[in-house]
């Protein structure tokens, strides 16, 4: 927002939860096509003048209304996204692309198709399949299939090293994602903004415990440092973004001792400030630049 303001680019910031209410929306389909306006916080934009839409963890449409209901959410969501999608604006990211891109099992397959190395992975509800996978790969991690966490009660499920004596019977109670543990020398976060690829690397401490698998939870004094992107990875990432129709993606890789970057996941709405603060990489500026660029989609 601040960067767009500095460029003199008009911005309307809104939360779909506030529609109806603080957010106003009106569109008429007539002989001239669709003419409409969107307003919030005293600002207004014509749908025809909209150059880009940045979707950043939006609220559920209609959920802030006094008479909120599932039906109102459907109505508000269809009206807002349907009309916005009917504009010529470029999206970071298109909602339907974002929806698919959140599916981690789909991510793994797409990464394979794009030539990015993916650690051997099993997603299963069959205990015998899990045991067989464990016999073949021995050192495993487990992580949520969805990337989300239980809320009742609130828990976090970090990517965790599977205990050597694990009993896989409980796999039958819910889909379980098991993956060969990459003995990593570093974590890599690659932030893709349009055509720009900005990668950062966080070295694993020599004294790190093998159980400290998840960089989000592992204690570390190391900082993120900017790193170049190997040509093959860049090609794979660009192929991934094209196939997924994403303008933004935060890719996580585990780098092994040979320097191979193993694809772990791509978060289509991943945070980037923590990388920018450590590395000074101009990610915010890249996002603002992409959003400010005039011109129709693709």
């Amino acid at each position: 927002m601040d960067r767009l303001d500095a460029r003199g680019v008009p911005v309307v910031r809104l939360d779909p939860a506030d529609l109806p209410g603080a957010v106003g929306l009106s569109g008429e389909y007539g002989q001239g096509g669709l003419r409409g306006t969107l307003s919030a916080g005293g600002r207004r934009v014509g749908l025809g003048a909209l150059r880009s839409v940045w979707v950043r963890r939006p609220g559920v449409a209609g959920s802030g209304a006094p008479e909120a209901s599932a039906w109102l959410t459907q109505e508000a969501s269809q009206a807002l996204y349907g009309m916005l999608r009917g504009s010529a604006a470029r999206w970071m990211n298109p909602p339907e692309a974002a929806y698919l891109a959140r599916h981690k099992p789909w991510q793994l397959r797409l990464a394979q198709e794009c030539g990015l190395p993916v650690p051997a992975t099993l997603i299963t509800t069959v205990p015998d399949a899990a045991r067989d996978f464990a016999r073949r790969h021995r050192d495993l991690v487990v992580k949520p299939v969805s990337g989300s966490h239980p809320q009742d009660p609130p828990l976090v499920v970090p990517t965790s090293r599977v205990a050597p004596d694990a009993d896989f019977d409980a796999v039958a109670l819910g889909p379980t994602l098991l993956q060969r543990r990459v003995v990593k020398s570093a974590d890599v976060r690659l932030t893709a903004v349009g055509d720009r690829l900005l990668a950062a690397r966080k070295e694993v401490s020599p004294d790190a415990a093998p159980e400290d698998v998840d960089v989000r939870f592992a204690p570390s004094a190391q900082a993120w440092r900017a790193v170049g992107v190997p040509r093959s990875v860049a090609a794979g990432v660009r192929g991934y973004l094209d196939a997924a129709r994403l303008a933004y993606g935060a890719f996580d890789f585990a780098e092994d001792a040979e320097g191979t970057w193993w694809f772990l996941e791509c978060n289509q709405s991943g945070q980037f400030a923590f990388v920018e603060l450590d590395t000074g990489q101009p990610i915010t500026e890249a996002v603002a630049s992409w959003l400010a660029r005039p011109g129709p989609e693709r």
Binding site: M1, R56, L155, V156, V157, V171, G174, T176, Q271, L277
Partner: protein
Amino acid sequence: MRMFALDYARPAEESEVTATPAYRYDPLLQLNVLDDGRIAARDRALLRELGSTTSTAGSKTHFDD
């Protein structure tokens, strides 16, 4: 018996969610601002303190604006 992955779960930390934010949303500017009116996103120390961590997927703190 419970789902396999839950054997590796731990309680979520709630401190960042319950703490009083050091900023507020200014609807006219459409930006988060500090008490003295400065734009919060320009305060690198604050970013580091409040919003610079890697997502812990469940975190309610986002500060990328």
